[in-house]
């Protein structure tokens, strides 16, 4: 790699390592919410990793003797219509819900950002095709399209991930394309070309890394939405099958009992969805302040 082509990020990281730290500390101090959201995120990940090993009850074991009992010392979040412990089910479901959201976002991040970067860099036919695809997906109400995709591909968890990823693709495509078009004419690109880098090398080693901060911010802002989308799909009975514990299905189960005043079956998994999405959103806002000062609001 030539020394002439120093990308912006690398220069900042080398020349001002302590500067970056100061900025991080400053942003966190200014935004205690971001810090709280970060701790919250760690807690959620920890729950997903070790939660299933720690829960007091088997999430699938039903005990009809205590069915539909409200929260108590024995069952912190109460029990559902089959007498299953809701606390255990909410904890165990974290891994699945988080996994679906992360997998979907990762998939659309990788595919969308490369397609968008390629389109932005090459222009011409590639740009037209990729751009048209993004426009077409955006022409649908996204949740409706996700439903249609799951219906067409088959009703599995894997297809929920694919559907959520596909409907998110346009955001990454457009963002990556715009970033690359903005950066394409920059001096360091010319320098990289002069020092003998091929088009692919320039795109992958010099342009793409400089577009990453914006894309990472987009991904973190996208996580909460992906979680809501996936939970919505399983709420209407797609993807995850009962009795697998999953937040969306649990809210759907509980919805039938709310008219009778049995709020806890739907409330706790619903709060779990809400809390997790809220944490993701705060984290995304904070990350944006940190990585992408131009989009600060």
């Amino acid at each position: 790699m030539s020394t002439a082509a120093v990308p912006v990020g690398a220069a900042a990281a080398r020349g001002a390592g302590s500067e970056t730290w100061r900025h991080v500390r400053y942003v966190l101090a200014e935004n205690p919410l971001t810090f709280a959201a970060f701790l919250c995120f760690l807690a959620i990940v920890a729950t997903a990793v070790v939660g299933p090993a720690l829960v007091p009850y088997d999430p699938l074991a039903s005990d009809t003797a205590v069915a539909l009992s409200p929260p108590s010392f024995a069952h912190w979040f109460g029990t559902d219509q089959l007498g299953r412990d809701i606390f255990s089910r909410v904890i165990v479901a974290t891994r699945l819900d988080l996994g679906i959201a992360l997998a979907a976002v990762a998939l659309s991040f990788v595919v969308g950002s490369f397609a968008g970067a390629w389109a932005g860099y090459r222009g011409g036919i590639a740009d037209k095709v990729v751009g048209r695809f993004a426009d077409t997906v955006m022409a649908f109400p996204l949740f409706v399209l996700a439903m249609g995709i799951v219906a067409a591909l088959g009703n599995t968890v894997q297809n929920i991930v694919y559907a959520t990823a596909v409907v998110n693709l346009p955001f990454y495509i457009r963002l990556a394309r715009a970033e690359i078009v903005r950066l394409r004419e920059a001096g360091f690109v010319e320098a990289a070309a002069i020092s003998g880098n091929g088009p692919l090398g320039i795109l992958v080693r010099h342009l793409y890394p400089n577009a990453l901060p914006t894309l990472v911010v987009q991904a973190s802002l996208n996580l909460g939405w992906a979680l809501l989308n996936a939970a919505g799909l399983s709420f209407i009975g797609l993807g995850v099958r009962p009795p697998t514990p999953e937040w969306g299905i649990m809210v759907a189960d509980g919805a039938n009992f709310v008219v009778a005043g049995k709020w806890w079956i739907a409330a706790f998994p619903g709060l779990a969805i809400m809390g997790t999405a809220l944490c993701f959103n705060f984290l995304g806002d904070g990350l944006r302040d940190l990585l992408d000062p131009t989009r600060r609001t």
């Binding site: 077409t136 649908f140 996204l142 409706v144 067409a152 919505g232 009975g237 759907a252």
Partner: protein
């Protein structure tokens, strides 16, 4: 110059239609791909579980599934042009007919929710922008952040618990009208409006009572992006020089805010309104399930659970078309809001 204005708007609509055509083509192509990507063999599926080998082949030929894909696509276009979206296997009736019967229910819900979201979200955003850092602004910030994280189906469930079970203000959350009442005879298909037009305010009130909770559930989620965008857009405009000039000229606060600032802040808000509508069309499916609302969303959902694919595909297609048309309408509205857009066109 009203005649001139009319011509500009007409031109804008034609131009917008030209822009909408590729989107429409894209919607049709994607829906076609979805119909042909059905799991397993569509012929075997349409022939039913008890069909013999010959029967499946027979179905394959009658459906044209043995022909090359481009030919199938042309057939698909021809069927669409005739308004043929296929037949539901569970009810045995044409999909288009059933969708048309249920669409008013969904539209009534969506439009009322959109009105509610706009009526609360936009003034809230304006208020927050005029007092940055104030209590209203903070409340707006927290509210919009939480609102974006709300799962709409969960909001619906919470509302039922609060307003039906605890307070007893809302009727049983089942459908558009108490089953003991007769719906008003159809004019628009919107129960509240129809009842009013038929001169039956009591019936309209009943329909409105049923409508309130599902519409509120949708609106609570939809107003967050609206308020956020209004606030950001207004903040930008309020800092600009023409607003300062208007203030310096001694115009009333109302005039500065509404006539000068708000009108200029409206464009991004309109764009957000379009996105909100798209979001509402999707969220409708969830809310219709929670409130047993007999709209197109719950129709598609019942079909989906029964592996009855024609209604689902019809639903995806119609929603896509609806959204493209809405974007066209919003595109036209731009011309009214912003004279520069009209002149540019």
């Amino acid at each position: 110059m009203p005649a001139d204005g009319a011509r500009v708007v007409a031109k804008r609509i034609v131009l917008g239609l030209a822009n909408a055509l590729p989107s429409l083509a894209g919607v049709v192509i994607i829906t076609f791909i979805l119909t042909r990507a059905l799991p397993g063999d569509p012929a075997a599926y349409f022939a039913g579980p008890a069909a013999t080998e010959e029967a499946v082949e027979q179905v394959r030929r009658t459906l044209g599934l043995d022909r090359p894909l481009p030919v199938q696509f042309l057939d698909y276009l021809r069927e669409l042009a005739r308004g043929d979206l296929g037949t539901s296997l569970t009810t045995g009736r044409p999909v288009l007919e059933e969708m048309a019967g249920r669409l008013p229910a969904s539209l009534e819900l969506t439009l009322v929710a959109l009105l509610l979201a706009g009526a609360i979200g936009i003034p809230l955003g304006v208020l927050a922008a005029t007092r940055p850092g104030s209590l209203v602004d903070q409340a707006c910030r927290v509210g919009t952040t939480v609102g974006v994280a709300l799962p709409v189906f969960f909001t619906g469930v919470l509302l039922i618990y609060a307003f039906y079970y605890l307070l007893g203000w809302a009727p049983v959350p089942l459908g558009r009208l108490d089953p003991l009442l007769d719906p008003p005879s159809t004019i628009t298909g919107f129960y509240v409006l129809d009842a009013l037009l038929r001169g039956d305010p009591a019936l309209a009130a009943e329909a409105l009572r049923q409508l309130a909770l599902p519409a509120l559930a949708l609106a609570l989620v939809a107003m967050a992006p609206l308020a956020r965008m209004t606030r950001a857009s207004m903040l930008g405009v309020l800092g600009s020089e023409f607003v300062r000039t208007a203030r310096a000229l001694g115009l009333s606060r109302f005039q500065v805010l509404v006539v000068y600032a708000f009108r200029n802040a409206l464009l991004p808000v309109l764009t957000t309104l379009g996105m909100t509508f798209s979001f509402l069309l999707g969220a409708n499916v969830l809310v219709e399930k929670v409130f047993a609302w007999p709209g197109v969303g719950s129709y598609a959902l019942e079909a989906l659970i029964a592996s009855d694919f024609a209604p689902v595909q019809g639903f995806v297609l119609i929603m896509g078309i609806l959204y493209v048309l809405l974007n066209l309408a919003i595109d036209t509205l731009y011309a009214f809001v912003d004279p520069r857009v009209a002149r540019g066109a």
